[in-house]
């Protein structure tokens, strides 16, 4: 009887467990996690902070679900793998044998090198304990400073605002998430944040966090200004948790390198999710994603292969739906480039592939608070951003992901950007009708 060991209880780990169990009903399945709360929705923490859901709603699985999967859960940190011996060692000294193993340890917040970063009142948002900690502090905090970029920084800003904490958001450059959003999109987000009462400080870099005793009292900027606050929230990006692989001589770059079957450089040891660095056939590079969908799919494929199948994982064009300043935003394919001063590398809810702006022309349309931007390639759409109303996002998602030929509307898209939405809506209606007819005949 086989023994499978999964390290990590996030989306990738759970998907792998389900996949393994779907093929192997006898095997022993161990799920080892150092997060005391096990499996919960990491993206859901944002809505827990704003108060839209209570804590117990963060858990998608009940005890009965784990029971049905027949997974044994162990709270521990895996410190080393011995690939030859097919054994892992836990931080409590226990050694566990495995036949197949999955590394799905995720990623954790990068820590900036700012004096005072260890003070009480400096927070990050990696896990449920962090969210609890923020909520506890925000009951007493009068004002907060948020440092960083990407989705997590906004989640922190919006969580704090919802808890009635006066919030300062510090940007190093002149706009928010500059390597994914274009200027108008950044301005839309910033404008909405200001309307919620957030004070945005541009061109502001933190020199040090000021203390009163062991607690945060404020920050000092590089140009000598001081902002008083009781809480400093940091989200400057994430780092895949590769330590386990590093200590076990498994090949790593920025993440744990995997082949198309999600297997690492060590036989019978797989990796999936935020920790895995995956080959992207579109760009020819190995890239990192920090997205729920790909994590789940990678975990599923890894699980099936661990249980004896031989299925390649095909990386598709990355997309994510998120809420930026209360505006639902879908990001599909390549939409930006360069680097964002507020982030080191990748952030949560982010994909490295979004910054490979292709040789394409951007067309855009605005209406009320909504915005649509598409990147028009030779005969296909290379990327799209839909902010606000999501009516077209599913169509665009499909058109970009499946590289639907848009030759017949290309001229129209380029010429008349005011009717961008109509053109795509009409095209989609036609295209799906044709598709449906073809399928039926």
């Amino acid at each position: 009887m086989r023994q499978y060991v999964i390290i990590g209880s996030g989306a990738a780990g759970i998907a792998a467990a389900e996949a393994i169990r779907s093929l192997d009903h006898q095997a022993t399945l161990l799920l080892i996690s150092d997060d005391p709360h096990g499996y919960y929705s990491r993206p859901g923490l944002a809505y827990y902070l704003t108060g839209e859901i209570p804590e117990d709603m963060l858990f998608p699985f009940q005890e009965t679900d784990f029971h049905k999967l027949r997974v044994r859960r162990i709270k521990a940190r895996a410190v080393r793998v011995f690939p030859q011996k097919h054994q892992i060692e836990l931080d409590n000294g226990t050694k566990i044998d495995f036949d197949r193993m999955l590394i799905a340890t995720g990623a954790s917040a990068a820590k900036p090198k700012i004096p005072g970063i260890e003070l009480e009142g400096v927070v990050k948002l990696d896990n449920l304990d962090d969210a609890r900690h923020i909520l506890k502090l925000s009951r007493k905090a009068r004002s907060a400073v948020v440092i960083g970029g990407g989705i997590t920084a906004l989640e922190l800003v919006e969580g704090l605002v919802a808890r009635r904490v006066k919030t300062h958001y510090l940007l190093r450059g002149e706009r928010y998430w500059s390597n994914v959003l274009d200027e108008i999109e950044s301005r839309i987000v910033e404008h909405r944040l200001r309307e919620e009462g957030v004070q945005i400080h541009y061109h502001t870099e933190t020199a040090q966090i000021l203390a009163k005793g062991s607690k945060v009292a404020g920050i000092q900027t590089m140009d000598g200004r001081q902002i008083a606050c009781n809480l400093v929230a940091v989200a400057i990006g994430i780092k895949p948790r590769i330590e386990l692989a590093v200590h076990s001589d498994i090949r790593v770059e920025r993440g744990v390198m995997v082949d198309e079957y999600m297997q690492t450089s060590a036989e019978h040891i797989f990796a999936a999710g935020d920790v895995a660095q995956v080959y992207d056939p579109i760009t020819g590079k190995s890239v990192l994603d920090s997205l729920w969908g790909p994590a789940r799919e990678q975990g599923r494929v890894a699980g099936l292969n661990m249980a004896g199948m031989h299925i390649p994982y095909t990386k598709t064009i990355a997309f994510n739906v998120t809420r930026l300043a209360n505006l639902t935003t879908t990001i599909i394919g390549a939409v930006g480039n360069g680097r964002d001063e507020d982030l080191l590398g990748i952030a949560r809810g982010d994909s490295e592939t979004w910054r490979q702006l292709p040789d394409a022309i951007a067309a855009q349309a605005n209406f009320d608070v909504n915005r649509l931007r598409i990147l028009i390639g030779e005969g296909t759409l290379r990327g799209a951003i839909v902010m606000g109303d999501q009516t077209l996002s599913q169509a665009l998602q499909y058109i970009v992901l499946r590289q639907v030929n848009i030759q017949e509307i290309r001229e129209q898209l380029l010429k008349n950007t005011a009717s961008l939405g109509d053109t795509i809506a009409d095209f989609w209606t036609d295209w799906t009708t044709r598709y449906e007819n073809a399928r039926q005949s």
Binding site: Y47, I53, P60, N370, Q394, Y398, A425, D426, T432
Partner: protein
């Protein structure tokens, strides 16, 4: 169909009942649970989204609460047995 019309489309209960049931698009879902939390009759909509199954629960009121509250546009009403758009879940095939 004009785009501007699409924007002001209101999902009234009447429309919803005619249109059928709530259908999830799994690829968008992050299992946050807002849908299940807001369901007035406590259907576990999130589980449907995880499994990629429409909410065919006969108790579903089609009130649209989950559709409106979902922060990521995972849920929509789909007509029963009528035209459906190509299945986006297949992108992972």
């Amino acid at each position: 169909m004009k785009f501007s019309h699409l924007f002001h489309q209101e999902k009234t209960r009447r429309q919803a009942l005619v249109q059928g049931f709530v259908v999830p698009e799994t690829a968008r879902c992050v299992q946050c649970g807002i849908c299940s939390y807001n369901c007035p009759i406590k259907i576990d909509v999130r589980r449907h989204a995880w499994l990629g199954e429409p909410v065919k629960d006969s108790h579903c009121l089609t009130c649209g609460e989950c559709v409106t509250r979902c922060p990521r546009g995972v849920l929509r009403f789909e007509r029963t047995h009528l035209f459906s758009s190509p299945n986006l879940e297949q992108v992972h095939d």
